[in-house]
Symmetry: none
Subunit: 275 residues, 2 copies
């Protein structure tokens, strides 16, 4: 897993520390953190101090515990703003959300999870950033399965770390079943996930392609199964696919190239990977 990157041990360690600050555990004390990452207390201390000095972490003035700092927030904002995918997607996402009357998201694949780049909530409750930046297991979401499906086969394994976690009764945790599902998704050009991530939650997604025809993101709508029932699903699928096509167009994708692109995409992606 860890590449033979040499000469950057301390940087990797510092990043490892940063990544320990999750939603589940947003605050760490030196001792616990040092033990959790199995590093010397003094070393951890120095790294944390450096991160703090640079504003990537802050300490609670009272307890002395570390948290993610303002500089991370600022960097995150910049990362979001410099993401042309997100700006290309925003308008269409808005359209999609209002056309479908459900929450719409734009997501990408990161390791074995999907990351929410942009979200338009269903109601008019403006809650920006509430879910932007959050992640879900790829195998349990419509977007994740779709993004995996359009990956070159040999890359796919790198994005799946069995055993797959079961989140609901309907979560697909069998690799073979997942492969079949992905073949279907490729053939259909869209994906669904019905109560696979959470009981009562349904989502539908479609691919977003860049100028090269490569699938770089997924658009989706999601909502309660009571609203997104079998009767309404076909309509929703059509809407999501349309949104996906439109965002792709904004990224320079031209429909009529679709056929030839499939192999080119596979080749290109294959060639530029390591070794």
């Amino acid at each position: 897993m860890t590449r033979s990157l040499s000469g950057v041990q301390s940087v990797l360690r510092a990043i490892r520390l940063l990544k320990m600050f999750t939603d589940a555990h947003p605050e760490w004390r030196l001792k616990d953190l040092a033990r959790a990452v199995e590093m010397n207390k003094a070393t951890t201390y120095r790294l944390l101090s450096a991160l703090e000095a640079e504003g990537l972490l802050v300490r609670d003035t009272r307890t002395g515990a570390y948290r993610l700092g303002p500089e991370i927030i600022a960097l995150g904002g910049r990362a979001l703003r410099s993401n042309d995918l997100r700006s290309a997607g925003y308008a269409e996402l808005e359209w999609l959300a209002s056309a479908a009357g459900e929450a719409a998201t734009l997501e990408i694949l990161v390791d074995d999870q999907v990351l929410i780049l942009e979200e338009i909530p269903a109601s008019h409750l403006l809650a920006p950033w509430q879910t932007i930046g959050t992640r879900h297991p790829a195998h349990a979401t419509s977007t994740g399965k779709l993004l995996l499906a359009f990956l070159p086969p040999h890359e796919r394994t790198a994005h799946l770390h069995p055993p797959l976690q079961r989140l609901t009764e309907k979560t697909i945790i069998d690799l073979e079943a997942l492969e079949k599902q992905m073949a279907l998704i490729r053939a259909q050009g869209y994906a669904t996930a019905i109560e696979e991530l959470e009981d009562g939650y349904v989502a539908v997604s479609a691919p977003v392609r860049n100028h090269d025809g490569e699938v770089v993101a997924a658009v989706s709508i999601g909502g309660p199964i009571t609203r997104l029932n079998a009767g309404r699903l076909p309509e929703c699928i059509e809407l999501v696919r349309q949104a996906g096509r439109r965002i792709s167009e904004r990224l320079g994708f031209r429909e009529h190239l679709a056929e030839s692109v499939e192999h080119v995409g596979a080749d290109v992606a294959k060639g530029e990977r390591r070794m």
Copy 2:
């Protein structure tokens, strides 16, 4: 400039690299970046590779240029969710209270009232936390007027339920007069309330902005008119504004973005921005 932090050179360098990715220059090529930070090309390369391997940076598949990556977005989201106003504000509020020698508060707008989120009492008075959680009519407080002033016009009406209650002789209860006052507040960047809430009570407040430049809260100091008289007001205003800026920074707001954010916001988040 660099403190006596030793044993973390490479980490500091890596962070320096990260921070080079600004809104003005969101994309870097190895060579330019190496030159810009005055580091050896190979060293820069290794650091960038490490950051890329960890997902903090991504490379453009065709040009090979580096950009901020998804992991930064994810971290930013977490930082935002874990860094609430209160903890961000506490330290600065303490500073403000001791610098001004008066009670300092952090407040947000809830319906037509302001809610005190955090308070540091004046140095000589006792009774800590006595007012946390209490509310005052927005139109009669410096913080309330300020928070209203920075709201989009159409939202403002939802936060004002005429007829406005008269609390002292100086309370502004005329909507037009209030509008004028708010225009002034926007122009000045701070607000005052002199005996508008209570006879003999004076307060000064300044805005707190989040990573998007949105005004999400107000800091203020308040005290008896005998101490907070015309002579001391300018000094107090400066202190409050400074505290406001510092808290904003902790929330990820970057001063130099102030202008650009305004129109990016117009594109991206149509509803929640003013103008």
